[in-house]
């Protein structure tokens, strides 16, 4: 399992549009990808899972990636976050 932290820079937080893009991106990957904010946890492949976290600007999230290609997949998600959120 690989995990990393990320602080959201986008003013609106993970709002509908980037949440949709994230689901799309995560859906392409083989690993199981979870996003945690504090106590709450959401599946990155499910739109309600992500939006339900209500991640706001300056919130720190922890991303965990688990699977055969976890290293590479974590990199993809990291890039996505940096470019979009």
């Amino acid at each position: 399992m690989v995990s990393f932290n990320y602080v959201i820079k986008d003013e609106l937080g993970i709002h509908a549009r980037p949440a949709g893009l994230l689901v799309k991106e995560a859906g392409k990957l083989g690993s199981k990808i979870m996003i945690c904010k504090g106590e709450k946890k959401g599946d990155a492949k499910k739109i309600f899972g992500i939006m339900g976290l209500a991640v706001k600007q300056n919130d720190e999230i922890t991303v965990t990636v688990e699977g055969d290609t976890e290293e590479a997949d974590a990199e993809v998600i990291k890039n996505f976050l940096e470019n979009n959120l």
């Binding site: 937080g13 499910k46 739109i47 899972g49």
Partner: protein, 538 residues
């Protein structure tokens, strides 16, 4: 005349007949079901149909509002495809042996509640998205129609609330404006209305008797005016015409350089008096902010604004302008702008009295608070600082000494700021004009405040109506002063601009360009008219 007060989400004006949109009834009955498998299969089928409908809407929206505005329909498709959402529906059908419509409506309500309870306005507004997709699914399941707009002529669409899907579905050639009772400025409908340039109001308490009546949507004042009198109607017709003219000009001139045919460039900035004016700066395509009157921050409060309050405002403006120049003028009160908590004594002649930089140098603690906020904000964008009402080099040297103290303090406290923030002075007294050669050695730029300069030069009180006939804003004395200031600035390699009302006087634009004026800062609505003139010059 009946005036309904609400909130504007887009400041356009529309005049036309009201058409109240009746919602298709999506209330569902709970029905006991024997064959739960068949019911689950119905959901699956209806979901596929709904997703296909949304894909069509997405394609339509891409055409009308572009990729980013359309993205919400992709998100809606994902929501319908979401395993948690579908699991909840299946689960309700199986455990309660109920019909699909009921299971969808219940799931929709549950998920909407989850969003509605979040402590974030944006996320709260997402409850409407969940309702929207659930209603769609119920409509497909029960075979009812889409609730489309039926109108033979363009109308003002009035509704309880509008889902983004409803907004996009409508034939835009039939929509003059959107008016809703509910909704928020974060709703997708509001966002779409802005993207499509359709006037929109929310929080309007209409009633059904208004259907078919003539009305005015006043997007500037956030009002719906029904049965208006002839005079009001005329006023809004004129405003609408002006707005259309402005829009046509914008289409023609937006993104174009402010330069003459021979390639002489001019910086064309806008004057603002508050944070909310930034939107108008951007929509009118100004290249920066040439005068941000910081006194509004003080005028709006009943005590001295803190460093943090000021910092947040300067930072926001700098960020919103995204690297474009933002020239902030330090506190300019006194004269016609009085503030109670400054407790200034009554003066016989306030225009020539205790005002602007004179107050700041006399009360350095007030001045330093503002300077600290400005320097702290400087790292978030392209901020310049401008000092008003200068009459001597000594004043500039005093300002510089205070600035150095502020920088030293910030450095000691480890607070980041930009070392080389551009600093300039306003030239608005004849004294400053006459010593502009000396001032030019001390500062980075000049901005000529023509309103005060004219009143001090002609010795005419602008507020005195009796003197209107001899107050000549084109007085040769003032124009020669501008010429002198520009020449002295250029000799020292600094730039000189005009931020007074004269800068927006299009009958003088050509003369200013010929004088070598580097920058004009005007009210946002004058940006494009001035650009037009410059582009027509040789």
């Amino acid at each position: 005349m009946n005036v309904l007060e609400g909130k504007s989400v887009f400041s356009g004006i529309a005049i036309g007949k009201i058409s109240i949109l009746q919602k298709v009834d999506t209330s569902v009955k709970r029905v006991h079901i024997e064959d739960v498998e068949a019911e689950t299969a119905r959901v699956e089928q209806a979901k596929d149909t709904a997703v296909a409908q949304l894909q069509k809407l997405y394609e339509k929206a891409v055409q009308e509002v572009g990729e980013s505005g359309a993205a919400i329909f992709e998100v809606h498709q994902m929501m319908l495809d979401d395993e948690d959402y579908l699991d909840s529906i299946r689960n309700i059908i199986h455990t309660e042996s109920v019909n699909a419509e009921y299971a969808v409506a219940t799931t929709g309500d549950n998920f909407a509640t989850m969003f509605a309870e979040m402590d974030d306005d944006y996320m709260k507004a997402r409850a409407a998205d969940v309702k929207d997709i659930s209603d769609r699914l119920v409509r497909v399941l029960s075979g009812s129609g889409d609730g489309d707009l039926e109108a033979s002529e363009p109308v003002i669409v009035v509704a309880e609330d509008l889902a983004p899907s409803e907004t996009v579905q409508m034939d835009k050639s039939k929509v003059l404006a959107f008016v809703t009772r509910k909704g928020s400025s974060n709703s997708h409908t509001a966002i779409l209305a802005r993207t499509m340039n359709i006037p929109a109001l929310i929080n309007i308490e209409y009633d059904d008797s208004m259907n078919g009546k003539m009305a005015i949507v006043d997007g500037k004042g956030g009002r719906l005016i029904i049965d208006s009198d002839a005079e009001t109607l005329k006023k809004f017709e004129d405003m609408k015409e002006e707005e259309q003219r402005q829009r046509a000009m914008l289409k023609e001139l937006k993104g174009k350089a402010t330069e003459t045919k021979s390639g002489h460039k001019l910086h064309l900035y806008a004057n603002i008096g508050s944070l909310s004016d930034v939107a108008s700066v951007l929509t009118n395509d100004a290249e920066g902010i040439g005068l941000f009157r910081s006194e509004f921050i003080y005028l709006e409060k009943d005590n001295y604004p803190t460093e943090e309050e000021q910092f947040q405002i300067y930072k926001t403006v700098a960020q919103n302008m995204a690297g474009k120049k933002v020239i902030i003028r330090t506190l300019d009160i006194g004269a016609d702008k009085q503030i109670d908590y400054f407790q200034m004594a009554h003066e016989e002649n306030p225009a020539m009295g205790y005002r602007a930089i004179r107050i700041c140098l006399d009360r350095p603690e007030v001045f330093k608070t503002q300077l600290r906020a400005l320097f702290r904000a400087s790292v978030f964008g392209n901020i310049s600082i401008m000092y008003p009402m200068i009459i001597s080099v000594t004043e500039v040297k005093q300002i510089k000494a205070i600035v150095e103290e502020v920088k030293k303090e910030l450095t000691e406290q480890g607070i980041p700021f930009k070392e080389d923030v551009e600093q300039g002075v306003m030239i608005e007294t004849p004294a400053a004009v006459m010593i502009s050669d000396l001032l030019a050695k001390e500062v980075d730029f000049f901005s000529i405040g023509t309103n005060d300069l004219t009143q001090y030069t002609l010795a005419i009180d602008r507020q005195n109506a009796k003197l209107d006939n001899i107050y000549d804003s084109h007085h040769e004395a003032v124009l020669r002063m501008i010429q002198m200031v520009v020449e002295n600035a250029h000799k020292e390699g600094i730039w000189a601009g005009i931020c007074g009302e004269l800068g927006a006087d299009t009958t003088l634009t050509e003369r200013f360009v010929k004088m070598g004026v580097d920058e004009l800062s005007v009210s946002p609505t004058f940006v494009l008219p001035v650009r037009k003139i410059v582009r027509e010059m040789n």
